[in-house]
């Protein structure tokens, strides 16, 4: 039987795969928000299972900052820049979505033999979800051409690392978690401002054309 924690992180991984299939920024950001809410839910369940009160605090922070704050900030940025749809690069979104689902299945094979601490029950699902989120973030970064899409892919990778750490360990020190969260938040803010600057200087945020910067 799959536990609630594993169900939550697997749902998050599947939602991330579905996110790859559309280029609409609003839909992407919405799916990212829901995915992160699932991860926050998994954190609450882990806190319940381990009896660790600091994890609840982290879950609340993730729920408010990462699941609501970041998507709203990026949505506002995209509305200010007047971009609603990514252009897409390399692979078309439907194929990329299928690719990320294949990678989702592959991550189960890859993580089959990862050693976990004795106390972690059924760590396989969590590890697979984490690795799958990593892959999916990579696919997002590969198939998006606008800077906001790149940020989104980076955020999905960050989610993957967090899920892996959450499910494979018996809890990280709260200070480390908070530090990572803060770093990520500042990173997104800086990226948002940078995107503005890029738009101002080059009149587009297409990362494929950034090579024009070379002399």
């Amino acid at each position: 039987m799959i536990s609630g924690i594993n169900l939550c992180v697997l749902c998050a991984a599947v939602l991330a795969c579905l996110m790859v299939g559309s280029l609409h920024l609003r839909l992407n950001l919405f799916l990212y928000g829901v995915e992160t809410l699932f991860i926050a839910g998994a954190t609450v369940l882990t806190a319940n299972a381990h009896g660790d009160a600091s994890l609840i605090c982290i879950a609340i922070l993730i729920g408010t900052l990462k699941a609501l704050g970041v998507p709203f900030f990026l949505l506002r940025t995209s509305e200010k820049l007047n971009v609603h749809r990514d252009v897409g690069a390399m692979i078309t979104p439907p194929l990329a979505m299928h690719l990320s689902i294949v990678l989702f299945a592959l991550s189960f094979v890859l993580t089959r033999n990862i050693p976990t601490p004795q106390l972690v029950v059924n760590g396989w699902y969590g590890a697979a979800a984490g690795i799958s989120l990593l892959f999916t973030g990579l696919v997002v970064m590969l198939t998006r051409r606008l800077a906001i899409g790149q940020i989104l892919g980076f955020l999905v990778i960050e989610n993957g690392i967090y899920v892996f750490a959450l499910t494979q360990t018996l809890g990280m020190p709260m200070l480390v978690e908070m530090g990572i969260l803060l770093d990520m938040l500042v990173g997104v803010m800086v990226c948002g401002v940078l995107v503005f600057k890029i738009q101002k200087s080059f009149e587009h945020i297409d990362v494929a054309l950034l090579t024009n910067l070379k002399e």
Binding site: I2, L18, G21, P93, P94, M97, H98, I101, V102, F104
Partner: protein, 327 residues
């Protein structure tokens, strides 16, 4: 002696129940969709039996036939309805069936394709340009949705170890299924249910793909094909389309019922009631969806189909990972 009498009585009542479901469920589904849309637009909407009245009205009307038509036009609508009724008998879309024959999943998929071929022939035979437009779009949609649907059903077959739909849809009652099957089984049924539901929206040319209430012939799919039909012919086509809709909704509802059955125990009576309630629930969901969603650009339809394929693909992987391969 008494036992035999009870058996006969039971099978008779099953037959009556099944045949009346075939007659009643499709028009009621149509009304539910229209009623939901009307309610969401603050209208009262049609009465519950409006599709019946429409069918009776169409049967009474005289027919206008274009001079270019051959006998194929009329034959196509009759053969289409016959194929769909055969499908209603073969497909396990209701929990209560008097006698379920064994039906391979590939047979079902290609019988649906055969029904489509008949409607295409009818549309092309009418000789109107719009009919050909509609036929061309219908073929495109059929090509797109067929692999997605097949992958979903094959995932179920992989999980249950049989390509026979009767075996697949009686799986939770037999060994290996039931309340012990757990979350993996529920996940597969749920994913395939969603895949069939989304595929049915494409297959029946409903909202995100095509607007069934549009008056613009240039964007119609199903409506463009039946533009030249009138009178009894139109009544046959409309009823066949509605029946096809309820078969698809029923198949999807069956998947959801099985998902429920693999996490908790439900008895046969509840399953029968749930299968009908599920069809109505899906019809209402489609009504809500049609009120909220906008029609996709024709070029964006493959992106929508990709989501169906993804659901089926996920289900197939879960089935393969669940130790389902024991053929």
């Amino acid at each position: 002696m008494n036992d035999i009498n009870t058996d006969v009585l039971r099978s008779c009542s099953h037959w009556i129940l099944f045949v009346s479901s075939i007659a009643i469920l499709p028009p009621v589904c149509l009304t539910l969709i229209r009623k939901t849309k009307a309610r969401l637009q603050s209208r009262i909407g049609p009465p519950l039996l409006q599709p019946f009245y429409d069918l009776i009205k169409l049967c009474r009307k005289s027919e206008t036939v274009s001079s270019t038509m051959s006998g194929m036009f009329r034959l196509a609508s009759v053969a289409g309805l016959a194929t769909i009724i055969l499908l209603a008998w073969l497909t396990p879309w209701l929990s209560y069936k008097p006698w379920s024959p064994s039906a391979d999943l590939f047979l079902i998929i290609y019988l649906f394709a055969l029904a489509r071929v008949f409607s295409l022939l009818g549309a092309l035979d009418s000789g109107s340009a719009f009919g050909a437009f509609g036929a061309s779009r219908e073929v495109t949609l059929g090509l797109l949705v067929e692999p997605a649907l097949m992958l979903g059903l094959v995932a179920l077959g992989l999980f249950c170890g049989s390509s026979d739909l009767r075996m697949i849809f009686s799986y939770p009652q037999t060994i290996g299924g039931g309340a012990a099957a757990g979350a993996g089984a529920a996940g597969i049924w749920l994913l395939v249910g969603i895949a069939i539901l989304l595929a049915s929206l494409i297959e029946l040319s409903r909202m995100p793909v095509d607007d069934p209430t549009t008056h613009l012939e240039l964007t119609m799919v199903h409506e463009a094909m039946v533009l030249e039909a009138s009178g009894r012919n139109l009544a046959l086509i409309e009823f066949a389309h509605a029946l096809r809709m309820s078969i698809f909704f029923g198949l999807s509802a069956q998947c959801f019922v099985h998902a429920l059955a693999s996490v908790c125990r439900i008895n046969t009576l509840t399953q029968g009631i749930l299968s009908v309630v599920g069809i109505f629930g899906i019809a209402i969901f489609v009504g809500v969806l049609e009120s909220l969603a906008v029609k996709l650009q024709w070029r964006k339809v493959p992106e929508f189909v990709a989501y169906v394929v993804s659901m089926s693909l996920l289900a197939a992987f879960v089935a393969a990972g669940n130790g389902g391969i024991k053929l």
